[in-house]
Amino acid sequence: MSEKNNIEKNIITEQPITQVLPVETSLANITPSAPIDEREVGQSYWSLVKHQYKKNKLAVAAIYIVILLVLVAVFADFLANNKPIYAKYKGTIYFPVFKEYMVNLGLGKWDTEFLNVDWRTLDFESAVWPPIKFFPNDVDLFNNMTGPSVATGHYLGTDAIGRDVLSGLIHGSRISLSVGFVAAGIAVLIGVVLGALAGYYGGYVDIGIMRFVEIMTLFPAFFLIITIVALYGSSIWFIMIAIGLTTWTGNARLTRGEVLKVRNMDYISAATSLGLKNKRILFRHVLPNALAPVLVSAAFEIAGAILTEAGLSFLGFGVKATTVTWGSVLSEARGATSSWWLAVFPGFMIFITIVAYNLVGEGLRDALDPRLRD
């Protein structure tokens, strides 16, 4: 009863239609006719999408997390390393981390005095160290299976043979990220090309490609990858390619559907009637209008690929034992139930990453949906 009264009250209070505005406000509302700008640019589709995306705060936070993860992966050597970034030793200035890149690229050589040397034991006149003084493979035998502690320098603890967990996570993000991007990239590339061909040309091309897609869908991706790894050895590239080759079918279907929809639009007829060639129509007019949903699915695929890689590493089928990944750190926890830090931190990293990519995907999907636009 009271609710009804409230509603009525609201209606009444909102009644005055001929509201007299104060003079200043009404003047302020009139924008002076802007000077005609010759270089004025229209609002493109992507600027609208960006505007729409920004409204979803969670998705914006997720994209910052993704950016942060990318930065961590790119600068992993500067965040966790057993060499100083800058060092003055016996009167000479060195940049060992940079030097290491040069050596790996074959552009330089270590001075003999630094070969097979633990840099942390050297007496530097001055040095700038990365925040974590351990490389993921460094074995700290004095501090194995220790929990998170500031005193030992192992902020997130160590595993059974004394490898630093945080360093492992930082360097492992490289593997996860590259697996995610490369696998999803392969999947998008194959899926978009085949889907677009099927949708645009139709007929036997369509039937052929879609039957192939159906056959590919039948392969259980995870077991196929395990088989490949078992047969040809574990390499990060095999895993990326295997994930990419088994997950493109969804993209192909999605692209085909979109292309079928766009192909029947009048602007494609217009392009045909203007004499444009098939290839040009497909790449300039059809695909740009059909790719948005694939972009959304790519974001989810990155998450999926990261998860698959972590799962493989956890089972021990992942990359080589010497390479530390999130999954391999997590698998250390299997035999050590009391060492909670071995399970919690890598698990949390995987969780955060998957959630972030999924949120980005969802945000993109909403931003691309014209029905949700205001």
Binding site: I36, E38, R39, E40, V41, G42, Q43, S44, Y45, L48, M265, D266, Y267, S269, A270, A271, T272, S273, L274, G275, L276, R280, R284, H285, P288, N289
Partner: protein, 335 residues
């Protein structure tokens, strides 16, 4: 004798109906069924008929946006239906189309200037600064500002989009434009603007139009001659004044009786047709219109298919057994 620009003979478009596992063709939708007409240089031919009678299919088949099943389309002495890809590219500069839906006829990812420049470059009409100037000229020709060149289609109203569509069609300097219901999706106030624009452009550039519409008053206003279509066939063709003054075919009569007259005192007799339009997949025998015809000649219309024939040697063609000219060749001769 006026110069014939476009000569369409026995144009047919049958869409197959496919069913089953092996996509067996079990029938055809006769969207355009043996249509013959000509368009003279500089004139506007109106094409009217109710929804689904094949007007749009004709328009698109002329440009080979839909491959016609049979028939010939002679444009300036050359058969469009038999052209290969290269000849078609050349001829498509001469024939253009304006679409009904201004919201789906512009690529949403390209700026207005971008889409016109692409065509200018592709057909090597002009490039660089010349192309830019040409875009501005085209936009101003259709009543838009040059500032609009950098905008995207979604930033325009329906009427403005239709103008962009017209500018795009004009970019290749065509001689002939198919106007496929160019005003049906617009407000009445905008309709008149676009109609006037089309007429101005016609007199300025000497264009020839095929004006497809279901709006009879619009067609009356813009056309020189009118074809009335029913179920994929042309049932009557005449000069616009002749057709609106003395309508011959019962279907045309019924159609024209539906045109509102801006005179409240005038009591007009509406001819209300009964029944639905038969499916073009399963057309009636004899005259296609006989199941709904108020003037049916029992025993004849059901069996004898009429032919489109001129009345008294005039340019008024009609396809109805009420007129003796329309009888097909006598049976004796055929046998």
């Amino acid at each position: 004798m006026p110069e014939v620009l476009l000569d369409v003979k026995n144009l047919k478009k049958y869409f197959p109906i496919k069913r089953g596992l092996f996509s067996k063709t079990i029938g055809h939708v006769k969207a355009v069924d043996d249509v013959t007409f000509t368009i003279n240089k500089g004139e506007t031919l109106g094409l009217v008929g109710e929804s689904g009678c094949g007007k749009t299919t004709i328009g698109r088949a002329l440009l080979r946006l839909i491959e016609p099943t049979d028939g010939t389309v002679i444009f300036e002495g050359k058969d469009v239906t038999k052209m290969n890809a290269n000849d078609l590219k050349v001829i498509r500069k001469q024939m253009q189309i304006i679409f009904q839906d201004p919201y789906s006829s512009l690529n949403p990812r390209m700026t207005v200037g971008g889409m016109i420049t692409e065509i200018l470059k592709y057909h090597k009409i002009s490039e660089g600064e010349k192309a830019e100037k040409r875009v501005y000229d085209l936009l101003e020709l259709v009543g838009l500002s040059r500032l609009h060149a950098r905008r995207y289609p979604h930033e325009f109203s329906g009427g403005q989009r239709q103008r962009i569509g017209i500018a795009r069609a004009l970019s290749v300097e065509p001689k002939f434009i198919v106007c496929d219901e160019p005003v049906s999706a617009l407000d009445v106030s905008i309709q008149s603007q676009i109609i006037n624009l089309l007429q101005d452009l016609q007199s300025e550039l000497g264009l020839t139009y095929l004006f497809i519409s279901h709006d009879l008053s619009v067609v009356e206003h813009i056309s020189d001659r009118v074809c009335v279509m029913y179920l994929g066939q042309i049932v009557e063709t005449a000069d616009v004044k002749e057709l609106y003054a003395s309508t011959k075919h019962p279907y045309s009569q019924a159609l024209l009786s539906a045109v509102p007259v801006p005179d409240p005192k005038l009591k007009k007799k509406r001819i209300i047709l009964t029944g639905d339009v038969p499916s073009p997949a399963n057309v009636p025998s004899g005259c296609y219109f006989h199941p709904r015809c108020p003037k049916i000649i029992k025993g004849e219309c059901e069996t004898i298919p009429p032919v489109l024939a001129p009345l008294n040697q005039t340019t008024h063609y009609v396809k109805c057994l009420l007129y003796p000219e329309s009888y097909p060749v006598k049976k004796e001769v055929a046998a």
